[in-house]
């Protein structure tokens, strides 16, 4: 048997396993629904997916999902960028680390809800989810990239010094390859944080055209099926986004 056919078989096995796990949990959900016997407390999976399908027929559903996606990816992108720049600053200028480090610790340990409420006072409702996603990403990227810079092979840096490599060669050929795995790990971890916290921020700030606002309305009007349908959309978008990011990062890794 060739290696490729073994890999193909393994992949098929994994996919099948995933499918059965999915069916298993759907079954548990259905059993719980029968047991609870109240659509208000726990809608059935069939009703949830039917509702999701109905919602998906409307343009408004996609527009709201798109706006939420844009807000959170904007916050994520800004967080990645600021995290990298801040890590560069604190690596080049060591005293800056003493000032930045406690601030990052504070951001990490403060409850997200506190920041959301503060942000509601400080800025417009559309900006709150962007800011919250940004805050979730910033400390993770900062600490990961800083760690990557610190862990850069000292032997290679000495080699660069002896052979008088230019700054651009040193950065491009030694620092970047050393930092990339740390940056990728940070980006993958923080994307999930950004997505969850961003939606929570939408629920509290209620910007126009947002998944968060729909979740809030479902709660107010006791539309539990809608709540589940929108939540299913959040999970779906989150996993698609994570897969896309992983694919993109893999591509960059292969090219570098």
């Amino acid at each position: 048997m060739t290696n490729s056919s073994t890999t193909h078989k393994d992949k098929l096995k994994k996919s099948l396993l995933k499918f059965f796990v999915f069916i298993f949990w759907l079954g548990i959900w259905q059993v719980a629904y029968i047991f609870v016997a109240s659509e208000l407390l726990l809608p059935s999976p069939v009703h949830t997916f039917r509702r999701l399908f109905e919602l998906a027929q409307t343009g408004d559903f996609w527009l709201k999902s798109l706006f939420s996606l844009l807000r959170i990816t904007e916050g994520f992108g800004l967080g990645v960028l600021a995290g990298i720049l801040l890590a560069l600053l604190t690596s080049v200028f060591e005293p800056a680390r003493y000032f930045i480090s406690p601030a990052m610790g504070l951001v990490k340990s403060t409850p997200v809800a506190s920041f959301i409420i503060l942000a509601l006072v400080w800025m417009g409702k559309g900006a709150v989810p962007v800011f919250i996603a940004f805050l979730m990403v910033l400390p993770v990227i900062w600490s990961n990239v800083s760690e990557g810079i610190m862990q850069t092979d000292k032997d290679l840096l000495e080699m660069a010094k002896v052979f008088k490599l230019s700054k651009s060669k040193k950065i491009g050929k030694i620092y970047v390859p050393a930092v990339l795995p740390y940056l990728f790990a940070g980006a993958t971890t923080s994307l999930g944080f950004a997505w969850k916290a961003g939606i929570a921020a939408e629920i509290l700030s209620l910007p126009l055209k947002s998944i968060g606002k729909e979740l809030y309305h479902s709660k107010i009007y006791l539309e539990t099926t809608d709540l589940f349908a929108w939540s299913a959309m959040v999970i779906l978008m989150s996993s698609v986004l994570e897969k896309l990011l992983a694919h993109l990062l893999n591509k960059i890794k292969k090219e570098s």
């Binding site: 290679l156 010094k161 052979f163 008088k164 490599l165 050929k173 030694i174 390859p177």
Partner: protein
């Protein structure tokens, strides 16, 4: 004199590795540094290469002479090909020439992890030679470790050839290599 070490003292964690060391190196030739392990041979090379600072004393090197270094470990960029690793310090043609001389012409596109230990050693040697111009200084810290005798015998002439037009400082444990030297310093006795 091309390199002058004046009253050098260097300690690591309270342990003196070099003490009041004075050495004059000639402009060219093959100078061998011998000594027991831990006697400070590598530290001596690192001081010359400006990778360490002496606690006391000064290192004087003629202006305009570049220093190339074959480290004890290969120090190759893991994500880059053999050719890219050597072309990092020279132009591509020079890099190819030296890789060819060290019998790596058919491994230009291979990355360090795809090479054997001996091949990686040769890439490190090719990089050091590709960086050199006549009159420069070549520091070699046990450069032929891991190479078989036959390959070593084909590579050594490149070192002795360069020693005619520049300075080679060789740290080794091998008596045969040491026998090639124009001048030998026994660092234990310093």
């Amino acid at each position: 004199m091309s390199i002058k070490l004046l009253d050098i003292t260097k300690s690591f964690g309270g342990k003196k590795v070099l003490k009041n060391l004075n050495l004059d190196f000639p402009d060219s030739g093959l100078v061998c540094v011998l000594g027991n392990s831990g006697s400070g041979k590598t530290t001596l090379l690192r001081l010359i290469a400006d990778l360490e600072t002496a606690d006391y004393g000064t290192v004087e090197i003629d202006a305009g002479r570049k220093i190339s270094y074959v480290f004890q470990n290969d120090r190759l960029l893991p994500g880059f090909s053999t050719l890219e690793n050597v072309a990092l310090v020279s132009d591509t043609e020079t890099a190819k020439l030296w890789l060819d001389r060290f019998e790596l012409g058919n491994a230009l596109g291979k990355k360090p992890r795809q090479l054997s230990g001996g091949m990686r050693r040769r890439v490190a040697l090719a990089r050091a030679f590709a960086f050199l111009q006549p009159g420069d200084i070549l520091l070699m810290d046990e450069p032929f470790k891991g190479l078989d005798a036959e390959l070593k015998s084909r590579i050594i002439p490149f070192m002795t050839d360069f020693a005619k037009q520049g300075l080679v400082i060789l740290v080794t444990h091998d008596e045969k290599e040491a026998a090639l030297a124009d001048l030998t310093f026994y660092i234990d006795e310093l």
